[in-house]
Symmetry: C2
Subunit: 362 residues, 2 copies
Amino acid sequence: MSDPRQRRITALADGLTAAHVDGLLVTSLANIRYLTGFSGSSALLFVSARDAVLITDFRYQTQIAEEVGDLARISIEPQSLWVGLWHQLAQLSYVEVIGFESGHLLHRDFQRLLEHGGRWQWRPTVDLVETLRERKDAGELALIEVANGIATRALERTLPQVKVGMTELQVAGALEKALRDEGSEGFPFPSIVASGPRSALPHARSSERAIEDGDFLLLDFGAEHHGYCSDVTRTAVVGRASDEQRAIHDVVRTANAQAARGVRAGMTGRDADAIARDYIEQRGYGELFGHSLGHGLGLEVHEAPRLARTAEGALAEGAVVTIEPGIYRPGWGGVRIEDDVFLGPDGPRILTSFTRELIELG
Amino acid sequence: MSDPRQRRITALADGLTAAHVDGLLVTSLANIRYLTGFSGSSALLFVSARDAVLITDFRYQTQIAEEVGDLARISIEPQSLWVGLWHQLAQLSYVEVIGFESGHLLHRDFQRLLEHGGRWQWRPTVDLVETLRERKDAGELALIEVANGIATRALERTLPQVKVGMTELQVAGALEKALRDEGSEGFPFPSIVASGPRSALPHARSSERAIEDGDFLLLDFGAEHHGYCSDVTRTAVVGRASDEQRAIHDVVRTANAQAARGVRAGMTGRDADAIARDYIEQRGYGELFGHSLGHGLGLEVHEAPRLARTAEGALAEGAVVTIEPGIYRPGWGGVRIEDDVFLGPDGPRILTSFTRELIELG
């Protein structure tokens, strides 16, 4: 039982009785990776108290054996994963009622269950694996820390390269090269490099805009290590910061610090969000903080829990969450400062080691 | 009617009668972008012969106005897109039967339709927009050509930087930086840089493996321009190629050339696949070409049509497809050469301008 994947499968199987199902069909690839270690892009997994059966296609024959070992019975299907599923399920005589992941099954595939899987009863389930994933174990935490180290070292290498006249895309390229050089397996989401007035767009993509003296330069990006993500944002000024830039950066920095130190497992997502939001409101910028404070991260860059005004659930001990307050003044610019924080038994631990002071570039 | 998006919406609306629906709920973001130009990550679109209603959230208020103009009625929803949908539909008294995209709607959201949208009849549809997207217009073709130019110029800048001892991740970083410097908006898929024996894995990701003298180096990557993708593969040798490397590369190069010159609109995907496959089989490597010949590309890097042994449909005139034969010898290495090809009225036009001769690096 020292293999964390075996513990996870057992914990999931324990929960299936409460969900009134004999087994669960897992279709989320992130959930499959969490439970079995398989990192390919084509798989179906069936889990019960007695069995774990993983179905993939011939392209992954070598990889799946290496990654999964004897943790699950592996089936390589020549035709389609679904044909393989019917075949495998037919051999499990105790199975009558099967849960499926309502948030990870397309209607098209739901129709397959009804049409070709009619000999079983199918029951929608929600977040059975996601709830387990919210509490990171020591191994997962270590991987997220490595992904944070990759991200911050890449940022250190990138900032000195920024010059007036470079485009946002060029800065993104320098940053992404540094991420690769530091060993990032991939980019968990499209890197955002947003300059000047574009830094006020909370969902900017990097563009051909050339950086000007006096611009805010917002970089929101992440690294990936053994499937686990980091998600970091810093906002610098190109050249000398104005008083107003400095004042707004200061409010965001304090909101970030208060929330990162004040967030606790057991608190609701709403109360965590309020730590930063109340401070920003007090300082008169409440209208300009238009998104929520943060989200969980792990195998996916957005996962449970949510830190938001509408999040009534308690934050699980062991969760890793982003703390990312921002202030955005349309047409002028915006500041966001984002760290990843582990909610440990003794309080929060900030995983992102990079100055939060305002950096003036060049 | 000169706006291509208006033509697309009209063409879609014309097809709705045949599908026996009064309107279509579009949930695929690529389909929404194709029909309206909106590039955000949160939207629902309703289209009928009389109306086009696009629902998004407050984060995209500015962007959607710029991108969509008066092509659709825009609704910014404070609560959720779904609440907005019920509200908008309730105002369209002629609507009774609504199609939805079975391949782009999660079961969770399908349940919403039944529970909260019970005053309408919901009918699954398949590929109504995808079929339109298969035939590219002149504007789309021009964007794919730009994306091809970005990709090939980036490859030109990258190959001279490759040195023995670099890791695959470092080469990926150099390539991705060059893509950004050439203006790529993003990476349509995770770049594959696979060296030595890893080049034999058709679904390799870039790894920490250090490149050795004599290795095959396979690079499979793409660029993005105004949402449109390119998808290119070349395989070089680090140092001097062996006779066997040269022989296998030669077979793949000839298969690529024969298929790229021989593929035609109107041909089935199976017959197109067979051009390359028959040649590779004749040369005795049939067992080592384990994937299909290619796929359509456009706003997505994998879209209709398929060029594969199981693809019975005729290739549409105006499609852009990849031609990517490969030979993979497990444990030794593999070669793939991939170009993007436009299926015009007068025959195929190759959009990827980069030598297909075997390159020896360093």
